[in-house]
């Protein structure tokens, strides 16, 4: 291994369910101690990929290693080194917060002397210490999620798989949750998190965009922004609707999205001066507007890479 240490690799990872190809020939290389995101809509193969990497599903083709261990042959010994947070809350709803954590600590066979300390420590870290006796089923979405993460990190895994961890959580809890993830990453944990929120994906050190089981792009958010073959122009117009109708007539514009009073326009990089094109078009219609060339955000990237794939298919 080089200076850059690799936690997870995958090559040609494929999963077929009957005639459906849920995951199609995915290659991965995830660096230790980073937060890696899987971005994609529902049904894009995020969960299936995570399950294959955990050794829960046997790939139809291809292979993967996690911490240098083969997920097919060594999945059992791998289990002590990974933590997994399922999409659905999967702790026992009829046990209390503390009982759940105690159970998990025993399942991972944490040494008896450390068990109590570790459980108390987690209750403190995840601010669940005032709810120790509450049944898990009666917790709020955010509390359940904190408990699930506490359980997944109890045995101090080197790699943490999180399958859409924030789908049932309010924004404040999401923010806190991500702070915890960064703390864990700083301590050296590699985290693989799947999401369909663009803002969450943008927080990852690097990410892969999945679409219908295919990895359509990967890299850091910056690399991804640079890699797409579109300019993004933001337009602040007095009458955004009329501006939109006017720009729709321009054939070189790939897509127009309205965000409140702003318009976001994607223009292929083949067009040398996108600002000039937009300004000229608007001026010709007598519309006043402020235009600005901006760096693509993840939504732009997502639209760009998935469109490109559809075009190629068509």
């Amino acid at each position: 291994m080089s200076a850059k240490q690799i936690a997870i690799t995958a090559s040609g990872l494929t999963m077929r369910f009957g005639s459906l190809v849920a995951v199609d020939n995915v290659d991965l290389e995830i660096t230790k101690g980073t937060i890696y995101g899987f971005l994609g809509p529902n049904g894009s193969g995020k969960s299936t990929t995570i399950r294959m990497l955990c050794g829960l599903l046997t790939p139809s083709a291809g292979s993967a290693t996690v911490m240098g261990m083969d997920t097919r042959r060594e999945s059992e010994s791998l289990k002590q080194r990974i933590g997994y947070m399922t999409q659905r809350f999967s702790l026992y709803e009829d046990l209390s917060v503390k009982e759940n954590l105690q159970f998990i600590s025993e399942i991972y066979a944490v040494a008896r002397s450390e068990r109590k300390n570790r459980v108390d420590e987690l209750l403190e870290i995840f601010s669940l210490h005032d709810r120790t006796k509450q049944r898990a089923g009666t917790l709020s979405g955010g509390q359940k999620q904190r408990l699930a993460l506490a359980a997944a990190t109890l045995h101090k895994p080197e790699i943490l798989f999180l399958d859409e961890p924030t789908s049932a959580v309010d924004p404040q809890n999401r923010r806190d949750f991500w702070e915890t993830l960064f703390e864990l990453a700083e301590q050296g944990t590699t985290i693989l998190v799947s999401t369909h929120y663009m803002d969450e994906a943008a927080r990852c050190h690097s990410l892969a965009i999945l679409d219908e089981g295919v990895k359509v792009a990967d890299g850091t958010p910056k690399q991804l922004g640079e890699s797409i073959s579109f300019h993004v122009v933001e337009i602040e117009a007095e009458n955004p609707n009329r501006a939109r109708l006017c720009l729709l007539e321009e054939g070189q514009i790939a897509s127009i999205t309205q965000l409140g009073i702003k318009l976001r326009v994607m223009i292929p990089k083949a067009v040398g001066d996108p600002l000039n094109l937009v300004n000229g078009k608007l001026a010709a219609s007598g519309l006043a507007a402020k235009t600005e060339l901006v760096f693509p955000d993840l939504e732009d990237i997502f639209v760009a890479v998935t469109e490109k794939r559809r075009e190629r298919q068509a």
């Binding site: 399922t86 702790l91 709803e93």
Partner: protein, 367 residues
């Protein structure tokens, strides 16, 4: 090794905690044996009495009236009414108002004396074999002539010596059999549902991603229910002794030993079902698929030897068949478990086979 024990213990403790919070299941542990014991104990009665009957007496002589009075005195039938003709008797039988009709013709006295023709007729609802059996019993009733005996009573060829149940009470046979029936139902169902429920609630997806081994999970699930099974056993035998005076003639230790193996066999089957079923409803259906033949052909309801050979062969596979022999042997005959080791062995074989299958089938993967 140490870690294994910790994990088995963890699963056990969790199972007990959940049980103590699941009031319905907790109630069933005590409720099912109690209700079924009282229901079956009082309802199942092969020693038939009080069948409703009617009669027509066309002779209406001293002798015929004496004969009817004797029939009633047997307590096997209760005379509901006297009708005018045999046709009315048939109508009552058709309507299901009576199970037995007695038709006494007008030449009854002559027939009795003549002895070469039957003196009277019994009309029987023979659809129920048990009632038919009663009719046979009635037909053997002698006709007495006043108080003087015409012929000396012939000594029967065979004398019946009733062992183990001199009072001929059904409960004596039913209660020990009920131990097995109730344990079959609750044990198979509880374990099957216990694992399938975790599947349904998603707990299993978390569990299979931990270092827990299949065997550890299965053992941790089985132990608590062995204890529950033993509680049920003690409950049934105590209630059977209290309500139905069913004696325990053999050694309690032997009863416990036999029950333990039987419970473990049923639990293994429950585990096997849980690896096949994906919803609690399916688990329940599969349990009943197994439960019904267990009741019917294990010898609990009908004597084993009377069944066709093919049914006997199927019954030999069911744990309840072997347990019935064991428990009836120990409880009623005071038999020593060592004299029935082959029955015990059959249970052990069943358990090992199902448990092995369950462990092999249970996949720590989702595919």
């Amino acid at each position: 090794m140490m870690n294994s024990l910790i994990r088995i213990y963890a699963v056990m403790r969790k199972e007990f905690l959940q049980l103590s919070r699941d009031r319905l299941t907790f109630g069933m542990i005590v409720g099912i044996p109690l209700i079924q014991l009282l229901m079956f104990g009082y309802a199942i009665n092969t020693d038939v009495r009080n069948l409703s009957a009617a009669y027509v007496d066309e002779a209406d002589t001293h002798l015929s009236r004496e004969f009817v009075a004797d029939m009633m005195a047997s307590q096997v039938i209760v005379m509901k009414q006297r009708v005018a003709s045999a046709i009315e008797l048939e109508a009552l039988l058709d309507a299901g108002d009576i199970s037995i009709g007695i038709a006494i013709p007008d030449d009854f006295d002559r027939r009795v004396l003549g002895r070469n023709r039957p003196a009277a007729q019994l009309l029987v609802d023979g659809a129920d074999p048990i009632i038919l059996g009663v009719a046979r019993q009635l037909s053997a009733l002698p006709v007495r002539f006043d108080s003087q005996l015409r012929q000396p009573v012939q000594a029967p060829l065979l004398e019946v010596r009733n062992y183990y149940n001199p009072e001929r009470r059904s409960a004596v046979n039913i209660v020990p059999g009920l131990v097995g029936v109730i344990l079959t139902m609750t044990m198979v169902l509880f374990t099957a549902v216990a694992i399938v429920r975790e599947k349904e609630r998603g707990n299993l997806e978390l569990l299979i991603n931990t270092p827990i081994k299949t065997t550890e999970l299965m053992l941790g699930k089985i132990f608590p229910y062995i204890l529950i099974g033993l509680i049920q056993l003690v409950l049934i035998l105590t209630l059977g002794w209290y309500f139905f005076q069913v004696p325990i003639r053999g050694s309690l230790i032997h009863v416990l030993a036999a029950a333990m193996v039987f419970i473990a066999a049923n639990l293994s089957l429950g585990l096997l079902i849980s690896t096949v079923a994906s919803t609690q409803f399916q688990a329940m259906q599969m349990t009943f698929f197994f439960f019904l033949p267990s009741i019917l052909i294990s010898g609990f309801m009908f004597p084993f030897d009377g069944m066709p050979v093919i049914a006997q062969n199927i019954a030999e596979v069911l744990p309840l068949t072997h347990f019935n022999r064991l428990i009836r042997g120990i409880v009623l005959r005071g038999a020593d478990i060592q004299s029935m080791l082959d029955e015990l062995l059959a249970l052990v074989v069943f358990m090992s086979a199902t448990l092995t299958l369950a462990i092999l089938r249970f996949n720590k993967r989702l595919d």
